[in-house]
């Protein structure tokens, strides 16, 4: 919880899509990630988030599970379905506060690149987590 003074080694300009319907959370994440040198786009809606991810070259997708129109797990499955989405370069990080049912958890472990319980990390720690994808 101490503000960390080490400078971020994250590659400048990496593009992040943050699919998150809680504005306060996305606000905090955008602030922290932007300061660390990332280029962040926010989307609150599952369906539009899926389309954005399919049509743009993101490096990282932060994906909440409880989002409007289609759920995060649906977005994940469709982004990883080769019939629907050509292989993504983006790494997908699930961000959630919910317990997962066994079947969903298995899909997350198989198809996502990372998993974060939001209540347990601060925005600063999120930056560290995302940075670690490029270490």
């Amino acid at each position: 919880m101490e503000p960390n003074t080490t400078t971020s080694t994250a590659p400048i300009g990496k593009k992040i899509l943050c699919i998150e319907d809680e504005h306060f959370i996305s606000e905090l994440y955008v602030r922290a990630l932007t300061r660390a040198g990332y280029d962040v786009t926010v989307e609150v809606d599952g369906q539009r988030g899926l389309e954005l991810a399919q049509t743009n070259q993101f490096d990282i997708i932060l994906l909440d599970l409880m989002i409007p129109t289609i759920t995060g797990i649906e977005v994940l499955r469709r982004l990883r379905n080769p019939k629907e989405t050509s292989p993504l370069k983006a790494k997908i990080i699930i961000t959630t506060n919910l317990e997962q049912r066994e079947d969903i958890r298995a899909d997350i472990e198989n198809q996502a690149d990372g998993y974060i319980v939001k209540a347990e990390i601060t925005p600063h720690e999120l930056v560290g987590f995302v940075d670690s994808l490029y270490l």
Binding site: M1, E2, P3, E22, F24, I25, L28, R31, A32, P87, L88, I93, N97, L98, E99, E109, D113, G114, Y115, I116, V117, K118, A119, E120, I121, T122, P123, H124, E125, F129, S132, L133
Partner: protein, 515 residues
């Protein structure tokens, strides 16, 4: 022995009398024939010789019947109790002329031994028959099941049949796991214990709490819950290798679950605001660092600590809820204990600092790599340090040590110099909802932290302990196992080796993972 001695004396005196009488008669006869009748030597010899012959034969018959009659009584007694010749009459002990006491005592012993043997046989018979004939079923109200070495149910009682709503005869002859699908609170399951007992033990016994059955025809919330006792005997002569007894606690555990699931639900709702609270506090700290009154900065730090504590609290509740729902699983991985411990401790530094407490860590060099679930074990460390901070009183330091014991396990202790625990509270300190009542009013807490710690350490195959003196502080210690001792479990519990877990989530190891 007295009877025997008496018998010997009696026999000796009888024989002496007979022999002396015999000799006296012969000497008297010789004197009579020689001096009174003046018979010739040859005639005297013939007369006395024939008399001696008659007497000797007579005495031999007489003494034989005297001496043998006790033996006959014993023989008759043995025949009487032997199954094949049971129609033999019992010996008449009144008719024994010699050594009656000895024979009465001998025969009494024979009958006693016979009756003990008989009883044993009857008991053995009874056990066999009882299992076959519902004796235990009617006398034991607890569900009971007996397995043979192939895990086949060779006996199930009526109580079990009722308990799980199946026919007794339908269960017998089936594999136990197909009839009883049991879920345990951690990985120390019946199956694991049973396999271990079969490999390493001749006899073994074990108890489990909060076992849940998964009956296909019932709702998850309506499943029987019970404590389970198992007895294993490798060489049971009847082939009853393992016996299971179920102690039903469905109502009690269901109530707990309900209370817990409500709390868990409520606590879950805290997570989003908590995420925000911590995020904004952090943003404040970053923005205001060095720009405001030091007192305000101090306030910010205390807010951050309070939010962190709330986060620990939420995790504890949710974890206990997972345990209650049998959903608690571990992901054991090879970890450097120094790294795990120092990371967990560093997360607690701010919390200790705002209370003016110094956390002093000393980790022995050359500890083996351990097999732990990093997330869960960090919660144990957090809870122990949190406790030490709460109960530190006016003391200003907490010592954390890690070392390898002579048994090869890695032990970690958290020692405070605070208020300590009253002696009568020590045995209960790891129980759920138990809190030291005297401190209840002064110190906040759920009474779940140590319970959770115990469950987590237990699931790791370690043990947790406390040593405390009132007024002098407490030392909590726990052990974790070197990785090579849990490697089998680690691989089976998680085969996704590319996943790297940290305290709050996981990422895939990108050196191994390419898409």
């Amino acid at each position: 022995m007295n009877h025997l001695q008496k018998y010997i004396n009696q026999v000796r005196s009888h024989l002496l009398i007979i022999l002396v009488a015999n000799n006296a008669f012969l000497i008297g006869g010789w004197w009579y024939a020689h001096h009174i009748q003046h018979l010739s030597d040859i005639n005297t010899l013939i007369l006395l010789g024939s008399c001696a012959l008659v007497l000797t034969v007579g005495f031999a018959f007489l003494s034989t019947s005297y001496l043998v009659s006790p033996l006959a009584a014993v023989w008759r007694a043995v025949l009487h109790i032997a199954p094949d010749t049971a129609d033999t009459q019992a010996p008449n002990l009144q008719k024994i002329p010699l050594g009656r006491e000895l024979i009465v005592s001998l025969v009494t012993h024979i009958y006693q031994i016979a009756s003990i043997t008989n009883t044993i046989e009857k008991i053995a018979d009874k056990e066999q028959t009882n299992l076959d004939h519902d004796f235990i079923a009617t006398s034991l109200p607890l569900p009971l099941v007996v397995l043979n070495k192939e895990d086949t149910i060779i006996f199930a009682n009526q109580a079990l049949a009722q308990y799980i709503g199946q026919n007794k005869t339908d269960m017998e002859g089936k594999n136990v796991y197909s009839v009883l699908d049991m879920a345990f609170t951690n990985e120390q399951t019946f199956d694991a214990w049973h396999r271990n007992a079969r490999t390493n033990k001749a006899v073994a016994a074990q108890m489990w709490e909060r076992v849940r059955l998964n009956l296909p025809d019932r709702e998850q919330t309506n499943q029987p819950q019970f404590d389970l006792a198992a007895y294993y005997n490798q060489d049971n002569p009847q082939g009853f290798e393992t016996m299971l007894v179920l102690f039903d606690h469905t109502n009690q555990y269901a109530q707990d679950d309900q209370a817990m699931s409500f709390v868990a639900l409520a606590v879950h709702e805290l997570r989003t605001p908590l995420t925000l609270l911590r995020g904004y506090i952090e943003a404040f700290q970053e923005e205001l660092a060095g720009k405001v009154d030091p007192e305000l900065e101090d306030f910010m730090k205390k807010m951050a600590v309070a939010a962190g504590q709330l986060s620990t609290f939420v995790n504890t509740i949710l974890n206990v809820s997972r345990i209650e729902n049998n959903q608690f699983t571990l992901q054991l991985h090879k970890e450097s204990w120094k790294d795990v411990l120092e990371n967990a401790v560093s997360a607690m530094h701010a919390r200790a600092e705002v209370r003016g407490i110094d956390l002093q860590v000393s980790v022995d060099d050359n500890l083996p790599e351990v097999g732990v679930d990093r997330v869960s074990i960090s919660e144990v460390i957090n809870n122990l340090i949190d406790n030490a901070i709460k109960y530190s009183g006016t003391s200003d330091r907490i010592m954390i040590r890690a070392y390898q014991t002579k048994d090869g396990v890695v032990e970690t202790t958290v020692q405070d110099l605070g208020v300590g625990i009253p002696e009568n509270a020590v045995p209960h300190i790891f129980e759920k909802f138990y809190r030291n009542h005297r401190n209840r009013a002064q110190v906040g807490g759920t009474g779940l932290g140590l319970y959770l710690a115990k469950v987590i350490i237990g699931a790791h195959g370690g043990h947790i302990w406390v040593r405390s003196h009132e007024g002098e502080g407490s030392t909590f210690g726990f052990t974790v196992q070197p990785y090579n001792q849990v490697a089998g479990r680690a691989e089976s519990s998680n085969n996704k080796s590319e996943i790297v877990r940290n305290a709050h989530g996981w990422i895939k190891n990108h050196s191994m993972y390419r898409r």
